[in-house]
């Protein structure tokens, strides 16, 4: 598959969204709403539940399934409120010594008048900063599109995993082709040049693990769940300072 084929696949209709992952991996998920400041952003869903019996805080950038659902979730493009809700729930996780699990799938943070006026930059900046210094373990799994700063806002984790036909990039190939080359026909080349596929990201050290999708079968979710449980079991033995030091080193290497 070419890089651009993978880009298309990562956006494909019918691809499981964050809600599906939560349903299959998190037991007794209880959704919690709102940023306690302005609104509840449905583009980022969050709450508490269990992974293999361990209490966790879960966040997911949700694109929505059918048309109405997509509109309700703003196609997975979060406003500042989404990132502020994420930070609120991360801090809550820290208080109660729970690890944080994020499912990431977004073409990018929303760009619009309200998003800008309510401080999209500040919200993302703060989410990155708070996640980096979180005293409990954090794992992010990219399950579709990892679109730039909007994805990074929930990817300042101990490890970042990615499913095999997902992408993670500083800019969309469309954006790159039009801004850099002023040629929207060069999208496929841009996709190649940006090294945004799972395997390329693994080589660059931007992700720790590439997960086989196995047709998004029951086996896939069971396997991922077991891996997440094992990861948290290991990380939960580390102190807050150790976690922060390792996270610092993870990003410092770039």
């Amino acid at each position: 598959m070419s890089a651009y084929d993978i880009v298309l696949k990562s956006r494909e209709k019918g691809r499981p969204t964050a809600a599906k992952y939560i349903k299959n991996i998190v037991e007794d998920f209880l959704e919690l709403h709102g940023d306690r400041r302005y609104a509840d952003d449905r583009a980022i869903i969050g709450g508490i539940g269990y992974v293999a019996g361990r209490p966790v805080t879960v966040l997911g950038i949700e694109k929505g399934e059918d048309t109405n659902d997509k509109i309700a979730h703003n196609f997975g493009c979060a406003h500042p409120e989404g990132y502020r809700k994420a930070v609120r729930l991360m801090k809550e996780a820290e208080k109660f010594h729970r690890p944080v699990l994020c499912f990431v799938d977004t073409s990018g943070a929303y760009c619009g008048i309200g998003a800008e006026e309510r401080g999209q930059s500040e919200a993302i900046a703060n989410s990155i900063l708070e996640m980096i210094r979180l005293k409990t373990p954090a794992l992010s799994v990219i399950i579709g599109e990892g679109g730039s700063g909007g994805a990074l806002g929930l990817c300042a984790a101990d490890e970042v995993w990615i499913t095999e036909t997902s992408t993670y990039s500083v800019i969309s190939p469309e954006g790159c082709a039009s801004i850099l080359w002023k040629d929207s026909g060069k999208v496929a080349e841009a996709a190649e040049r940006l090294h945004l596929t799972a395997q390329e990201l693994l080589k660059l050290g931007a992700v720790e693990r590439v997960i086989e999708e196995k047709g998004f079968s029951t086996e896939f979710y069971e396997g991922l769940k077991a891996d997440i449980a094992a990861f948290f079991a290991k990380k939960c033995t580390e102190s807050g300072d150790e976690l922060i030091a390792a996270r610092y080193a993870r990003f410092r290497k770039f």
């Binding site: 930059s121 900063l129 980096i132 210094r133 700063g149 500083v170 800019i171």
Partner: protein, 297 residues
């Protein structure tokens, strides 16, 4: 009455005030025969109002157009020169890497180095502002509009690490279009790297003041720019996450007047203070002074 042209011209040739200006204007005439060459910058056209302004007058006025008040973009070193004394550069050798072998990128960087005399898009070091020793970084518009790739992120992270180690406040002059797409995911990771360094500096109880200048957008705006304790913004600066053109394309409507400008950000509560360029040094000095004041009970 007759004038010797060279004598008149000498009036407009400013002697460098300090070493900061060395690389920016390396064509300082050293003798009369060279002085006979008319400098490019005797006068210049304001990029906003289009009126011709004497360069000396423009400089005297803090690079603000005396006719229309437009803020001319300043190079990283000119910016530091305007606010700091005894600047001593750090991490000057840090260079970028064309890690993705991106088409045309290495050539572009080489050409910019040649043209600007700078190795990368940020100048870092230590200096004094109002007598207070601090770590300083200043971003340069001439280098792909201050975009952040490995080198820019590395220098900024090191500046914060140095400041943490030496217990110094950080003053950062921010100017950037965002992450540098030619370095792909490595650029995106600089956002997390710089944020991590800012977090450590902050946890040591140290002060970070960011001065957001025109433009401050994208990945830089969404990382260390908005991580500061005190955020000053230069009058009229464009500050935002997405660029105005991208927003217009997304929402298919024209943006209101003053949208994403420093004044609106202050009104909405995202910057502490708009600062005029002529007051920048004094304002920074006042902030720094207060943070190192010792109270005798």
């Amino acid at each position: 009455m007759s004038f010797n042209f060279n004598d008149i011209k000498k009036l407009f040739i400013r002697k460098p005030k300090n070493t900061l200006e060395g690389t920016e204007n390396s064509e300082q005439p050293t003798n009369d025969s060279e002085a006979a060459h008319i400098p490019d910058k005797l006068a210049e056209k304001c990029e906003k109002c289009g009126q011709i302004v004497l360069s000396a007058e423009m400089e005297e006025n803090f690079n603000v157009c005396p006719k229309c008040g437009h803020y001319k973009k300043m190079t990283a070193r000119a910016r530091i020169g305007m606010c700091a004394e005894n600047f001593s550069e750090l991490f000057a050798d840090v260079e970028g890497k064309d890690i993705l072998d991106f088409p045309g990128y290495a050539e572009k960087i080489a050409a910019l180095r040649e043209k600007t005399g700078e190795k990368e898009g940020v100048v870092c070091g230590t200096g004094e502002i109002g007598g207070v020793q601090c770590a300083i970084f200043s971003m340069d518009y001439r280098f792909l509009m201050g975009s952040m790739g490995h080198a820019v992120g590395e220098k900024i992270a090191r500046t914060f690490e140095y400041a943490t180690e030496h217990k110094l406040p950080v003053v950062g002059f921010v100017l950037s279009g965002g992450a540098r797409m030619q370095e792909g995911i490595v650029s995106l990771m600089q956002m997390a790297k710089t944020s991590a360094a800012v977090a450590k500096h902050g946890e040591a109880g140290l002060l970070y003041v960011a001065v957001l200048t025109d433009p401050t957008t994208g990945g830089v705006s969404a990382s260390f720019a908005f991580d500061a304790d005190i955020i000053l913004a230069e009058k009229g600066a464009l500050i935002g996450f997405a660029g105005p053109r991208v927003i217009e394309q997304t929402i298919r409507q024209k943006l209101p007047e003053g949208f994403q400008r420093a004044e609106l950000l202050q009104e909405k509560g995202f910057v502490d203070r708009i600062c005029e360029r002529k007051d920048m040094k004094e304002t920074l000095a006042a902030i720094l002074k207060l943070h190192c004041a010792e109270v005798s009970e």
